[in-house]
């Protein structure tokens, strides 16, 4: 029945990676559309959130004190309400975007 799809795939990649052909411009020339932008934003927020959670987890494993201790330290810094709001926004926005756009993907 000829070649399998897997064989065809590996032949394609072998031939093309050996020939060192230049990559044709794609993201540099293609006009941005809303679906494109939303899709990459979904991926970007997903990666950022995932890495953020991993960072939090590793910190939980490595840092000596408990969460309330560090929270009290931040509270003691007496940061202005504008700064606190901005920080919360920076956390909440990627989370909300990824969640709602995720629902869009699910339905």
């Amino acid at each position: 029945m000829g070649t399998t799809a897997r064989e065809e795939m590996s032949r394609f990649w072998e031939k093309n990676s050996h020939s060192n052909r230049p990559l044709s411009p794609h993201i540099t020339i293609y006009k941005w559309s809303l679906p494109m932008a939303m899709s990459i934003a979904h991926r970007g927020t997903g990666i950022a959130l995932s890495l953020g959670i991993s960072l939090f987890s590793v910190a939980a494993l490595l840092l000596p004190e408990h969460f309330p201790h560090y929270l009290a330290q931040v509270r003691a810094l007496s940061l202005g309400p504008a700064l606190l709001f901005s920080a919360k926004f920076l956390l909440a926005f990627p989370f909300s975007y990824h969640t709602w756009n995720g629902v869009r993907h699910l339905v």
Partner: protein
């Protein structure tokens, strides 16, 4: 492109087989589960379904975390978040990492990261205030 090649190759074969079978044995009826292609496995399709299931579960955990914070939701969140992130980052690796060795290295690194993440979240839930409480406390700043 390789994914499209695989997809169209899978689509072409059942059509050809179906046409041939109809000509050879027109009286045969076809009950049973639908064939998904010439010698393919169901792994990818099951993985996709699993991804959607975990996403829905995670979505449901969000109001649960707000309305009934506690260890049950904390540990469920730890599991669902880790798995959702693991599978998501896995897709990113599949899309952008090429070559047998880089793919293997990246996936191994991902497993280590996800294992650490889950361990850290469970540790936090057990020895510290827990995810739900932590978010509530953080937002009270």
């Amino acid at each position: 492109v390789p994914a499209a090649l695989l997809g169209s190759a899978l689509l072409r074969r059942p059509a050809a087989l179906g046409a041939a079978a109809a000509r050879c044995a027109p009286a045969r009826d076809s009950h049973g589960p639908p064939r998904q292609g010439h010698g393919g496995s169901r792994a990818a399709s099951l993985h996709w379904t699993g991804e959607r299931a975990v996403s829905v579960l995670l979505l449901g955990l969000l109001p649960a975390a707000y309305l009934c914070p506690g260890p049950a939701v904390d540990y469920s969140l730890a599991a669902a978040l880790t798995l959702h992130g693991h599978w998501g980052l896995g897709q990113v690796i599949t899309d952008y990492v090429h070559g047998d060795v880089p793919i293997k290295v990246a996936n191994t690194g991902l497993y280590v990261l996800s294992a650490l993440t889950f361990a850290g979240l469970c540790h936090f839930n057990y020895h510290d205030v827990g995810i739900c409480k932590a978010v509530a406390m953080l937002w009270s700043l």
